[in-house]
């Protein structure tokens, strides 16, 4: 009996261990330079008013949302990679999709007196207090890829895509594919997410210019492949033979929809045109295989633009309030050549 208890306790300890191991890579990982700073906080504080020479190393804190999609992985990769290339002292925090973790991370960055804080807000609201704290500490905040619902003076810049423009571009591409005429079904992102709201608005607005094109049905697929497939299955049954094109707010839902179209005995990209947004590797593979038509890129490789802005802010230069990310449109014809260059 005692042995059994021992085994039980040991195994529980073991599993607890794996639990933390699971968290380890995603919790705060600091660049090597950070440890020295932590070791002597008092010394640094004393020296602070005197030092800060011009070519001081840029210290940046970045509060990432957490692993979410291939897109966000690419963004994380870009931030980490660019920091390494430029030799920036980056303190990177992964919030595991929780706002309170992001707020905690920002407070830690303020205490560590970083030069600039970057944050990809997981939700839009509830940021005033902590942004105010950063502002009082004299640390500028850069919002990355998602906006926060705060007064404009609380953050220095927003780097990210113009979701409305993406929606408009998708509508133009769809019109070109269908010869300005046809019925479309729409797979929306998560209800309430700014990416979903704006991509819908841009698409609908632009579609107003094409009187012979209409949206048959629109439903949320929660930005996931499984839901995208399930909703598309239902659409195909509700409108048999009437759907000319499918517009998905992200590539993953489009990939799910492609499977549903194939199950229905139709040819994706031929019988039903597929237009989506993001530009992940999977959709390029699908385009190269002739199963998807167009993806409007939503560039996650924001590292270079982010650190450029951070450096400018540190140097006291003014930066634009909305730094739009560099983006393109990719079509089936060139997918095979584009595929090897895709990083995410």
């Amino acid at each position: 009996m005692k042995f059994k208890k021992l085994v039980a306790v040991l195994s529980s300890v073991l599993l607890m261990g794996t639990m933390f191991a699971g968290c380890a890579p995603s919790s705060t990982t600091t660049a090597p330079a950070a440890s020295t700073e932590k070791a002597a906080p008092a010394a640094q504080e004393e020296a602070k008013p005197a030092e800060k020479p011009k070519n001081d190393k840029l210290v940046v804190g970045f509060a990432q949302i957490g692993q979410e999609s291939g897109w966000r992985d690419a963004e994380t990769w870009s931030i980490l990679n660019t920091a390494e290339e430029l030799g920036v002292d980056l303190k990177f925090s992964d919030a595991q999709q929780k706002q309170e973790n992001q707020i905690k991370a920002i407070r830690t960055f303020i205490q560590q007196q970083v030069d600039v804080i970057g944050v990809a807000p997981v939700v839009e609201t509830g940021w005033e207090t902590v942004f105010k704290e950063a502002k009082d500490a004299g640390i500028p905040i850069i919002l990355v890829d998602r906006r926060a619902d705060v007064p404009e003076d609380l953050y220095a810049a927003f780097i990210g895509s113009d979701f409305i423009l993406e929606g408009q571009n998708a509508a133009k591409e769809m019109a070109a594919l269908l010869g300005n005429k046809g019925s479309i079904v729409e797979l929306q992102g998560t209800v309430g997410a700014s990416a979903a709201t704006d991509r819908m608005k841009g698409f609908t607005d632009e579609l107003g210019n094409y009187p012979d094109m209409k949206i048959l049905a629109s439903q949320t697929g929660d930005f996931t492949r499984a839901k995208g497939k399930e909703v598309m299955e239902a659409f195909l049954k509700a409108y048999p033979g009437q759907i000319n094109g499918v517009y998905a707010h992200n590539d993953d839902m489009a990939l799910g929809a492609i499977e549903a179209i194939k199950d229905a005995g139709l040819k994706p990209s031929v019988d039903i045109k597929v237009v989506s947004i993001d530009g992940v590797k999977g959709i390029f593979e699908a385009m190269a295989a002739g199963e998807a038509n167009v993806t409007v890129e939503c560039n996650p490789l924001l590292g270079p633009q982010f650190f450029q802005a951070a450096q400018d802010l540190k140097d006291g230069k003014t930066v634009e309030k909305w730094i739009k990310s560099d983006e393109g449109i990719f079509r089936q014809e060139t997918a095979k050549e584009d595929l090897p260059n895709r990083k995410y």
């Binding site: 039980a8 195994s11 639990m19 692993q67 992985d73 929660d222 499984a226 399930e230 509700a238």
Partner: protein, 351 residues
Amino acid sequence: MSRLTKSRLFWPIIALVVLLLFNAVFTKNFFSIQIIDNHLYGNIIDILKNVAPLALLAIGMTLVIATGGIDISVGSVVAISGAIACSIIDGRIGSFNNTLLFALIFALLSGIICGIWNGILVAKIKIQPVVATLILMTAGRGIAQLITKGKIVTINSASMVNEYYFIGAGYLLGLPFALFIVLIVLLIVLAFIKRTAFGLFLESLGTNNRSSHLAGIQVDKLKLITYIISGFMAALAGILISSNIKGADCNNAGLFIELDAILAVAIGGNSLNGGRFSVGSSVIGALVIQCLTTTVYALGVPPQTISLVKAIVIITICLFQSNKFREAIFGRFNYFKKSKDLLVKKGAQIS
């Protein structure tokens, strides 16, 4: 009639029938079934295919709940098993010749291990079931992300992808293959419950733990077995889910599905306090949930109101299962009817 309404299967089946009748009237083409590429094709087939993971989870959950426990870690186990299976199929883990076989073995094994872990915490160490399984619920997704190195694994270009896709989305004899998996599992579990004393023991356990123990039932062992079964079912569901989308999405695969599984058990008319249970009616409960989802999509309910519509339907179903509620509604109706009959007898004119 009263024997019929007292059957555990009665109300879930009524709910399902009402939903289907609703669709027959309001949803266009809901029942139309065609043959495309040698398999049946239609909304009903979709429901039967997409319900499979939830039905499996509901079967496992019913057994756990029958003992007075609960397993809220199944969603995370779904993610773990999907992550393992897809990583092996894609050749990221190990180098097997027959990736499919080993993917299935290791994925199912992971479910069994998770089940043993939950079972030991609950049965041997006597941690409350919600808390015990909460640990794996939280840690499980982390473990899954560790396996996939934090990425979504897509297996589109793997060599065994078509065989793997067949499990969750293929067709056998014109019907979804996943449906056969559920039927076989259901038959095995039912046989196990009805042909052995296992089912009886579970009910006794859920009704009174202490007296079951005193009566000589191996309480701990039985509890451990139910959690292992639940873990196994979750792993199987994880394989179906990841196979259906040709990829493992650790963040979203099986997210909140534990709640749907518990709901399926509840719609099936099983008490969440344990005791008497019916696996079959839980599967009907799962069918009701999936049928509702498909209905909402087919009807074109605006996305903003989907949750509300679902909530209203679910609360209605649950209300009708409550004896108190039925008495309050129909009891009054009967009262009026009786008093009307009485008046008519007395010769009153009712216009």
